[in-house]
Symmetry: C3
């Protein structure tokens, strides 16, 4: 098997390494339509050229999560092929819209390593940047994963744990050039609620649920060229189940959040995220949100809302952790992000 | 749940109300490809730019049912979220082709209300119009649904039952500008049969069947941004099944009807339609048609054929109703439409 | 059922007949995205406009298998509706890239007929050519199928067995105009291995597996407008299973072969192919390859590699035939093709 990629192990990462991820990807009208077929996505800015134009953009950009999944998918062969767990995200910012026809590349810098006390695994932190065909960054985020060692006797590297912001400072969020919500039409966007209608601490049950199927999550995950075996091959896990890509749950929950957050249009910051429990075909994904903060931006009529987005596979809304402080078994995702909303 | 849409109830509709449906939608090459992946669609005018150009069009338009489903899907949050049943269609006309890149919006006028004698529900009639980004109407049809009352004690409105045509008069059908079938190539279209080869009363068994899967009907229904719970959430119905969107059956049957009606190219009128029985994943959809009428148009070589299209989930072709006058249990759809066909 | 297509039977084919297959098809950005959703396709030339441009092309062409499936699909109603078995392929050459927006047509010439000794079936050989909207051939291949006779008493035709090349001579392979691998970037393509790194006789286990679902293979097969009943209708085969289109297995195996053959970029020749055993939903498709030959081309930096691509549904890699010379029961596909690779 000398020609095939066995992936990197913990001892293959050194702080400062830059990994150029393979297979640039041109995304366009097809990915856009598939996104709408795979998720109940309805945010008007990503559904309609005319709505996007009324917000000062030249056309409807591709969904922010298409950018995220595409950039993330490219990292899998270099970062997570031998990963035991995807531990967290931080300092994520969307830096420019992705337009149909853009070609995305992805590269990651290793910014931290820490061997675990068991000596069998370690944690690797990478800062991943996605760029378009002009070399302009479209997305930047930190992810850390637990990775197996190839050789248990390999010496532990010097521990470097990066100092990461708990929250992306709202003044550093990037508002797309030209964006304005001054002429924002709430009849067409689907809901009347503006930023001032949301209060910090407010919780919203998004009501709807989607029971997920194997064919859907595999199509989605392949679309992002994420090839981790556990998503596709029933022989990859002892119980014969296929683990659903965590990003599929993110997109499903974000789409479901339209019902109550139709005007949280653009995702611009990723503060934190945890895939709390595995999701499998047959699960019915539901979602609820909590307003964590609001902020101003310098763009006309454009504010920012910080949201906790929780996906569950049942159970009551608004329940997150048990008395032991651990995520409840029905919780799939706990995501902390910034979105742009009309003021 | 103050931020989420609870939908309208019977007493929320008044004759003369105009409902602007949210989330305009740009449709294009991706929706076109997905339509071909989800249905065995083969009508040449919607498959090939060159064939469409040989018929006088600038390019291949999107399938007429893409227009219908997109316009219909937008009405769901305002019209059918609390609907008990979709009762009928009438006076439907396709008014202009939808081209890749067009943005569709949808609005409905309430044209009738009638409370049922049980006092718990009522029937609402709406005339829905889909428009493109130029404001030009692309589709117009009447639909009536049975809707729950929120408050059983709310007073009954004055009954208004609209006077609807049983059939769209053929002289009012709109033939797309420039369309000609004078150079129509039956070798490329797939069948030699022209309008004069079909006789009123003739019945055609379309032979082929498709066993439907959950992933497929959910992808289709999401693509049209139709978010009715019963299609997606196994907990929405007592028996845990997901009801297949009636429009999925329409598109499947229309696509199957290629085999015998390959030259019934463009759907231009919707006279009536009934979703006779629920369709579920695992059902094998088959279709048969009956020729109801033929007519002339003013376009070169272009005639019109009125067809009954029946979808079934088994049973013998050409059986529609039992001795009691009710649809047989295997009948899924009884659709009455006009299509354009070379003379 | 006088209007529907019953398909041709053995006695309907005569050597020299040219069959014009119906329903030209425009393919584009949507088909491209669906191809990436249905298969784990990652070859950089088909994923990225910028990568394709660095190889001298104007943009990323559609995957070579999209051309194959589209051209093949059109032949089904005329060639394989009454086929008992798809027996083989030979002399296949890709003659020009297919670009988004191209419209493909397909025609076949009957080049051989041979009635079987049982008198009930016969073998038909056809040479199929796919052309684009400019009339330029994009693909040419020979296929032979076993077809039922309509009338067992029909006289046997004179036997004509075409003389077919065992291998497409490498000097006749067509390299797309402008293609150069002189600036080929192996960091972006995903693997460092060039033609000189592969040795004749070398075998590569592609490691990954994909468990296939009904919804996926049906969507793929419909996308190519291949309407053979056995792929869609659970009542078409005695055991209620849906037979997966052999081309679905070809595309899945080719995509899986990225892992070890990431630089076998363009498929340009089809020497032979056998669908060894049926594939059904639930099977986990794996693949292995064997290097059969290498050759030069006149294009800068572009060599050719001849590969055997074997798809299995389990079992050990590199096992192909039993002691009886027959394919092992786990073998799905044995394909012999030429691809272009940087030297």
């Amino acid at each position: 098997m000398g020609k095939t990629n066995q992936g990197r192990f913990f001892e293959d990462y050194s702080v400062g390494d830059v990994l150029t991820h393979a297979v640039p990807r041109t995304v366009g009208a097809g990915e856009r339509a598939l996104y709408h077929a795979l998720y109940p996505a309805r945010h008007a800015l990503y559904s309609s050229d005319t709505f996007a134009q009324s917000c000062g953009l030249t056309a409807s950009p591709l969904d922010d999560m298409i950018a995220f999944h595409t950039v993330f998918g490219k990292t899998v062969p270099d970062v997570s092929l031998n990963a035991v767990a995807n531990l967290g995200y931080a300092e994520g910012r969307w830096l420019a819209p992705v337009w149909p026809g853009d070609t995305l590349t992805s590269a990651s810098e290793v910014i931290g390593v820490k061997q675990n006390s068991n000596g069998k695994t370690g944690v690797v932190w990478v800062r991943t940047t996605g760029r378009n065909q002009h070399g302009a960054p479209v997305l930047d985020y930190v992810r850390w994963v637990m990775v197996r060692k190839r050789d248990i006797d390999a010496p532990a590297p010097e521990t470097v744990v990066p100092d990461l912001a708990k929250v992306v400072a709202p003044q550093t969020l990037v508002v797309p050039s030209g964006l304005t919500f001054d002429g924002y039409d709430t009849a067409l966007s689907g809901e009347p609620h503006r930023l001032s209608d949301y209060k910090v601490g407010e919780q919203i049950d998004h009501v709807d649920g989607v029971t997920v199927e194997e064919a859907e999550h595999m199509m989605a995950t392949r679309l992002w060229q994420n090839t981790a075996k556990v998503h596709f091959d029933t022989s990859a896990r002892p119980d014969g189940t296929r683990l659903i890509y965590g990003g599929h749950v993110i997109s499903m929950a974000r789409a479901l959040s339209f019902n109550g957050l139709a005007n949280a249009q653009m995702v611009v910051g990723l503060n934190a995220g945890a895939h709390a429990n595995p999701c499998l075909a047959g699960d019915t994904i539901r979602a609820w949100s909590e307003v964590l903060d609001t902020a101003e931006t310098s763009a006309p009529g454009v504010g920012a809302i910080r949201l906790r987005l929780v996906a569950t596979k049942g159970g009551a809304p608004f329940a997150l952790r048990g008395e032991d402080g651990k995520y409840l078994p029905d919780v799939l995702l706990d995501l902390d992000y910034w979105a742009l909303m009309p003021t």
